[in-house]
Symmetry: C2
Subunit: 236 residues, 2 copies
């Protein structure tokens, strides 16, 4: 147990998440040292596209936005990471400079994992290597779905889909509000459209009684209809 900014952190909690589940406590402690865990405030940059990195991070709590910087600095959000997710590991594995940036979206506790520690564990524990392969493969599968949808669906369909994705990733509270605060511009940067288009479509959804909006909080009124608009097909 360690105490960072009045927040308790217990590294073995991370074992509940899949990629670390085959590790013994001592392997996990070898990988993640408590003094490598730090708190980060909203808006902070964790790493920046193009940087060379010496390791990656595991999210203990909070939400991190992962994005690429595209044409004329426009950000393209690739995904949001939450507790149990690892970020920046792709570049460590591929040996390239980091190809995305990571920014804190909601105050977070992150644990740093050195490349050396990762590779030494991969050599010692083949099941961990297989679990990690599975994680990367899943992410690649999702990226392929994303490519297809951004290429073929309309902005309206993608917005509905994104709302469903946010619900599935972060859940909703008792009042059906999404458990993530996100600006209109960020929604646009997931979908690949203009902020104004998102605003217009959100207010269409509001008029159609699919959602309700209170500032930056989105309340889901008709999830079935949103799914239908998104025309999410079975990914089994």
């Amino acid at each position: 147990m360690d105490n960072i900014n009045n927040t308790l952190i217990n590294i073995s909690n991370l074992k509940q998440y899949s990629v670390f589940k085959s590790l013994t406590n001592s392997e996990l402690e070898e990988l993640i040292q408590e003094n490598n865990c730090n708190s980060y405030k909203k808006g902070q940059i964790i790493y920046h596209e193009g940087n060379r990195v010496k390791g990656f991070y595991c999210v203990y709590s909070g939400i991190i936005k992962i994005f690429k910087t595209g044409i004329e600095g426009k950000e393209q959000i690739i995904r949001f990471a939450k507790a149990g997710d690892i970020i920046g590991y792709r570049s460590v594995l591929s040996g390239e400079n980091v190809c995305t940036s990571a920014k804190v979206n909601e105050d977070a506790l992150l644990c740093f994992i050195k490349s050396d520690a990762l590779f030494s564990l991969l050599r010692k524990n083949p099941q961990f290597a297989i679990d990690l392969l599975k994680l990367v493969s899943n992410e690649l599968g999702e990226a392929n779905v994303f490519i297809t949808e951004i290429a073929q669906k309309s902005v309206k369909e993608r917005l509905a889909e994104t709302i469903i994705y946010l619900k599935d990733s972060f859940g909703i509270d008792k009042e059906n509000y999404l458990n993530i605060i996100i600006t209109r511009e960020e929604l646009a940067n997931i979908i690949g459209t203009a902020t104004e288009s998102v605003i217009r479509l959100l207010s269409d959804f509001k008029n159609e009684k699919l959602i309700e909006i209170k500032g930056r909080k989105i309340k889901l009124l008709n999830i079935g209809a949103l799914q239908k608009i998104a025309s999410i097909y079975d990914r089994s």
Copy 2:
């Protein structure tokens, strides 16, 4: 050495490619058995989206198109695989049904690799697991670039980029013709646009003396200008 349809196949040739480079000859032979290698004709389906699979393939020769079936059956091409590439491995690793289809674009020799053989080798040879992690991570990085470009660039920019991508993947002959035959519709299905748009833009490029077209063969006249249109940024 084996002889399939008058074509010599030598499995140890595959060792020149990165993902198999750390394997001994006996490990490679354990993974890929000669009698599991077969020839496939243009148009044949290797595997179909949604199928459950018992292994994956290594491309010995030829070109394979990997695509997802999206809205109303429209295909979204994810990538083309060529000699030395492996296909279908993502689903084997993630344990899901296969999330893409694979179709022969140019007559091919493929070697089948059973899931069991893969996992047993992963457990025995950690360096191979690391090499495979690197391969998947690279592909994920490319997918992220693809997402950003399809979301942010115009159809014209993406067409120029795709032509450059095809050049980099398959090369050009002495006359500067691309070493891959591809229909207008397939180009559209990479880019995520309509066939008619590709046709119009190709003839723009022709008028601007950037390319020349002879049926389905594309001759590159001004690679620099194409790269500039694609506004490919440095991915170092």
